[in-house]
Subunit: 140 residues, 2 copies
């Protein structure tokens, strides 16, 4: 799931790597949930609403591999696995939360800017146009 970035000029590859890590659809939310308390797999899945089991598994493994999350397996029955941020993970979580806070604080500004832009450009969306809303005529 990680290798979204090919090469990039050597010097900034670490940047690309970490940003692709936290920039994917879910990872940053997972980290956010794991601040505060360790969580078990399904509990975490419940709290990160909408995430699929497959993606959660993959994301967690990437985080474990990079040393941000620790996976602790308790030999109980039924099995119980706990995920928690490592100290390294908490170091990452801190500047990350700053960015998240920025996002929350400025969500309305972004939305306003977007609305203004869309009004300016005549309502045409960036990228390709999808002006044809093909409504499927009938649904018997």
């Amino acid at each position: 799931m990680k290798p979204r970035h090919g090469h990039i000029s050597e010097s900034c590859r670490p940047i690309s790597e970490i940003l692709s890590l936290i920039g994917d659809k879910w990872t940053s939310l997972i980290i956010g949930r794991l601040r505060g308390e360790p969580l078990r797999f399904n509990e975490l899945k419940r709290r990160v609403d909408g995430i699929s089991q497959k993606v959660l598994t993959a994301s967690l493994r990437a985080l474990v591999r990079d040393g941000f999350v620790e996976r602790i397996e308790y030999p109980t029955v039924p099995p119980s696995v706990e995920y928690r941020l490592t100290p390294f993970g908490h170091e990452l979580a801190e500047p990350l939360s700053v960015l998240q806070q920025f996002a929350l604080d400025n969500a309305s500004r972004m939305e306003a800017a977007r609305a203004a832009y869309d009004a300016r450009t005549g309502g045409e969306k960036p990228g390709q146009q999808k002006t044809q809303l093909i409504q499927p005529a009938t649904m018997p």
Copy 2:
């Protein structure tokens, strides 16, 4: 190009949005280049090494739309277009640069963690490997 994120639980959608914005392959690097000085299109393209014209165009438009970048068109001939961070863009760039600095500072730690993980799990499972950095072999 931006709305990679579908719905997500309402409360954290702004987070997802902004993180998908800066988390894509290039946008954060573009913002980094625009700190310090405004740049023209092709100059920016040159400095963000490896980016395609199409993606640069799309990324810039998204940034303009969200209010982080300003596009200034000079009616010269040949045409000249300048991109610069807005004040809002600089606000975003700041926490972002913190994260980038974190990435640079801890690149070796991440790599070490990865190596340790791969050594730990490497001997046994033939399964598919994650996070393989595909080196593109040649840059003619």
